[in-house]
Symmetry: C2
Subunit: 325 residues, 2 copies
Amino acid sequence: MSIRIGILGYGNLGKGVEKAVNANADQELVGVFTRRNPESVKLASEQVKVYSVDDLPKMTGDIDVLIICGGSATDLPKQTPVYASLYNVVDSFDTHANIPAHFSAVDEAAVSGGKIGVISCGWDPGMFSISRLYAHSVLPDGKDYTFWGRGVSQGHSDAIRRIEGVKDARQYTVPVPEALEAVRAGKNPELTTRQKHTRECWVVAEEGADLARIEKEIKEMPNYFSDYDTTVNFISEEELKANHSELPHGGSVIYSGATGEKKHVIEYSLKLDSNPEFTGSVLAAVARAAWRMNQEGLKGAKTMFDIAPKYLSPLTDEYLRAHYL
Amino acid sequence: MSIRIGILGYGNLGKGVEKAVNANADQELVGVFTRRNPESVKLASEQVKVYSVDDLPKMTGDIDVLIICGGSATDLPKQTPVYASLYNVVDSFDTHANIPAHFSAVDEAAVSGGKIGVISCGWDPGMFSISRLYAHSVLPDGKDYTFWGRGVSQGHSDAIRRIEGVKDARQYTVPVPEALEAVRAGKNPELTTRQKHTRECWVVAEEGADLARIEKEIKEMPNYFSDYDTTVNFISEEELKANHSELPHGGSVIYSGATGEKKHVIEYSLKLDSNPEFTGSVLAAVARAAWRMNQEGLKGAKTMFDIAPKYLSPLTDEYLRAHYL
């Protein structure tokens, strides 16, 4: 019997989850839930129905796991605790400082409903977090470095778009090659923010806009750009569309550890053509784990740290031992 | 309270485990058990006692986890099932074809004794296996490639030493750079054994030995060398000691997957100055997990697939969520 999946939210991530669920032979997409008018939403999966978010409380008998694809700033802190009491849920909450509070809220709801709520899934937090944890656990004497990119940061692209005179923009986060090489060589460098990443901006300006002012505003923007070496390139709308319409991303977690005088370097890296499609694939695999763990009687909030790797796979334990070990 | 660890077997791996246990603040090395005369074994840890293997049945009250550091060919198939009924045990069994049988034997013993027996831990099988499993689970449409090296293969070095006229030898397994690059680029090549790795041999011959015959015997040795491009270098005993006395190893698991037309490459790689010290570090972390899972009432045979990442860490769940997620 298939695991029946619901998706809440149909932005880039929701579409990525949809594609992943359709690619998983053991999962079936039951419906996509939206705060918009359901009739205005066209799914890639033609046979799947779009529902209003208001229908969710009535459909607990039809869905095994609800994958919540909202934003971390305002959507997930509200949505995940609400639906964790009704459904097994999975989210990609990524506001690091607020993870403990989010975990508590989801835990209370999930325990009360006898469900599992897995938060902060994806690649960072997610696969990168797991890599950090395994490395620190195996080699207590060591240091982890995380590099992101080359890839599109949607948050930074949005920040540029909010500047007056900017019509559209795309921002790439780029690791500094020398920093990467020093870390890979086990040199354990102390690196400032500026030494780890550069920021590359592709900007479409409104006609007649003051380009020098826009460039200055970008480069001096606190938190987003002022601590980085930033390059700003003005291009036409057509160029942006032709060359910068995809959402690639990736990066590396590099752990430089030691056993006495012997050094060991562990690296986990991702090169992703599509950030939302890969993240969606992780969420779909975690949905499988959430369902299986709940079937075994487990409940409450979880993260990927709490999930034995085998639960993510549709294959039997026997098959995994015989073929992947 | 510390987790009390025993080590069975004091070869390279046993010494690696000893170093790892001593580096773990939450573990205490209680004793090393040997089939040799205990008085003939000198430990790196001066305060730790060496016991005869015959003492093991009497010490169940003193040891929480026994880490079994024998060879996979003849030691572990006998030892792990025997001691799994008395102790929580961890081993590094790596004869892939016999894993299902070994798992069954250990499971029966561990269940009967109410203990946990974790088999096949280390980096391959072990960390590499986990990487394969995560990747396949997240992206069902894909293919995994494993490259080993550059590193010393002890099995291949031993095979050369058994040739008449060979005094000593060291064999390095080396991945073919072009193959690695093609896989990293997501090209999904079909690779033969010869196209993936080369074998590099450093040989000390007996005085007056027929070098041409030795080289021929190495290159034509079935299973070990005949399917590979092999280079043989004759050197002096002093050179071998000076340049080839370490046991570095490593490698990469590269997974090339897709979501429809989007490609994604996942790579997990290790560069290890010391194979036995890293493997020993993995075994020590798994010993922690075995102990914690047994304290929670779990029993039976396990692999690293069955262990939630958090169990490997000495840190609390709250700390891990706040700092590593």
